[in-house]
């Protein structure tokens, strides 16, 4: 029984050690994601990307805006040539572009994880539109519609928001979504050490490195002992067998 328990304990320890290596290694990887990130290559135009949205200026059919997974582009010649729209935030996942039918030159654009932006001059200068939530924290923008009165309807991962007389109004949806994302964020923060503030990350890195060293040194000790044992057994097996000795003279005499 004790022997079996020891065997189980040993193999569970080995498996747990592997899991600790994975957990500690991935914690370090999560803390330093920029080690693995490649610098994106500048694209020549929008068509080499995933085009997610397109809109034509109702006052000038030559002016077209196009949003992709990682860029926001403008054409002033009906699509013959394109230039990247300059924005103060990364123009990623451009989900919707809508020209306001009531206000010539006014155009809105949504960036899924960043927010809603508005331009009053056909798309040259942009400003952020205030929302009742903060998209980088988990409620993402999925779609945008504009009615005949110029009022916006915003589809988000937490439900629909409509622009009313008193600002944005939530129209149902999934109210528990932000809580869920907060809990997830808490898990991430605990895992990578950010929960403990600025010095949490280096402390977590240190703990992770210690765990890795602990597991690797444990493996070295365990497998080293096993290897040494096997080598000793092999050495012993390779030695020539000991021949039986002849009885000593005194023993013979006494006999």
């Amino acid at each position: 029984m004790t022997k079996n328990m020891l065997l189980l304990h040993r193999w569970l320890g080995l498996v747990a050690g592997l899991l600790i290596l994975v957990a500690a290694g991935t914690a370090i990887g999560l803390n330093h994601q920029d080690w693995f990130r490649k610098q994106p290559v500048m694209s020549d135009g929008p068509f080499s990307k995933y085009v997610l949205s397109t809109a034509v200026d109702p006052t000038d059919a030559q002016r077209i805006l196009m949003g992709t997974n990682d860029g926001f582009y403008r054409s002033l010649d009906g699509g013959q040539s394109w230039e990247e729209v300059v924005l103060p935030v990364p123009a990623e996942q451009v989900g919707a572009i809508q020209f306001d039918p009531t206000q010539p030159g006014r155009v809105y654009v949504t960036f899924r994880e960043i927010g809603l932006y508005r331009s009053e001059d056909h798309g040259d200068i942009w400003e952020e539109v205030g929302l009742p939530f903060y998209p980088p924290e988990g409620i993402h923008l999925s779609g945008l519609a504009i009615d005949g009165a110029g009022k916006l309807t915003l589809a988000t991962t937490a439900g629909l928001y409509r622009e009313g007389a008193n600002g944005w109004e939530s129209v149902g949806g999934a109210p528990d979504k932000p809580k869920a994302s907060q809990a997830l964020q808490l898990l991430y923060d605990l895992h990578d050490g950010r929960f403990w503030g600025t010095y949490g990350v280096p402390i977590t890195d240190g703990v992770s490195v210690s765990l890795i060293v602990l597991v690797l040194s444990g493996y070295f000790l365990f497998f080293g002992r096993e290897i040494r044992k096997r080598l000793a057994r092999r050495k012993a097996a390779a030695k020539p067998p000991i021949e039986p000795q002849a009885p000593r003279a005194r023993e013979k005499a006494s006999v």
């Binding site: 999560l30 803390n31 330093h32 994601q33 920029d34 990130r37 610098q39 994106p40 500048m42 990682d70 729209v85 300059v86 924005l87 103060p88 935030v89 990364p90 990623e92 040259d124 200068i125 942009w126 400003e127 903060y134 980088p136 907060q182 808490l186 923060d189 990578d192 950010r194 929960f195 403990w196 503030g197 600025t198 990350v201």
Partner: protein, 186 residues
């Protein structure tokens, strides 16, 4: 005894770090550099630094806004011109750029030809995300010019856990370059 001590330490740590999860963001001002220190970092060769206030005309303002793709909040800027033996050796502009909730104050040091020499965070006002003051992030701006995109996920890699602050600093550095090119270098 040891277990009680461990539980007590964990509880204390949870209580002290609780504000990080609060809805209302905590104003947590950290001053890393005074203006004098920041100017020394931004224009290290200068033996004299002279403030040079500039106010864009309506046309210049529009031009800057078009190049930045956003509206300018400031009506004027104070560049600091660094000289050595009467010769201009660099410029610096202190920029306030909104982070997630509060502005981040940082200095952008420029060579006379408009190349970025140094970016340094002076004041950070939020509890999280102050990793953007580290060289690992800020050194990415060194040597960049107005012809570079200066955009996160283009030529600048954001810091995990400080995404919005990374956007803000990149946007502020770009603003400093465009304002310099339009109003100082011309």
């Amino acid at each position: 005894m040891a277990r009680r001590f461990l539980i007590g330490t964990l509880l204390l740590a949870c209580l002290t770090t609780r504000p990080a999860l609060a809805e209302t963001p905590e104003h947590y001002e950290q001053i890393y550099l005074t203006q004098e220190q920041a100017l020394r970092v931004a224009i290290p060769e200068a033996d004299k630094v002279t403030p040079r206030p500039v106010t864009p005309t309506a046309e210049e303002r529009k031009q800057i806004e078009r190049r930045l793709g956003r509206k300018l909040e400031e009506s004027s800027y104070v560049f600091h011109e660094g000289t050595r033996g009467g010769k201009t050796v660099g410029y610096a502009l202190v920029v306030d750029e909104l982070g997630k909730y509060y502005p981040i104050t940082f200095i952008v040091g420029l060579k006379p030809n408009g190349e970025i020499r140094e970016v340094a965070v002076m004041v950070y006002r939020e509890r999280r995300g102050d990793a953007v003051r580290r060289g690992r992030f800020l050194n990415q701006f060194d040597g960049k010019t107005i012809s570079d995109p200066l955009m996160v996920n283009r030529d600048i890699t954001h810091l995990t856990g400080a995404t919005v602050s990374s956007w803000s600093i990149a946007a502020g550095v770009k603003k400093a370059l465009v304002v310099f090119e339009t109003l100082i270098k011309r």
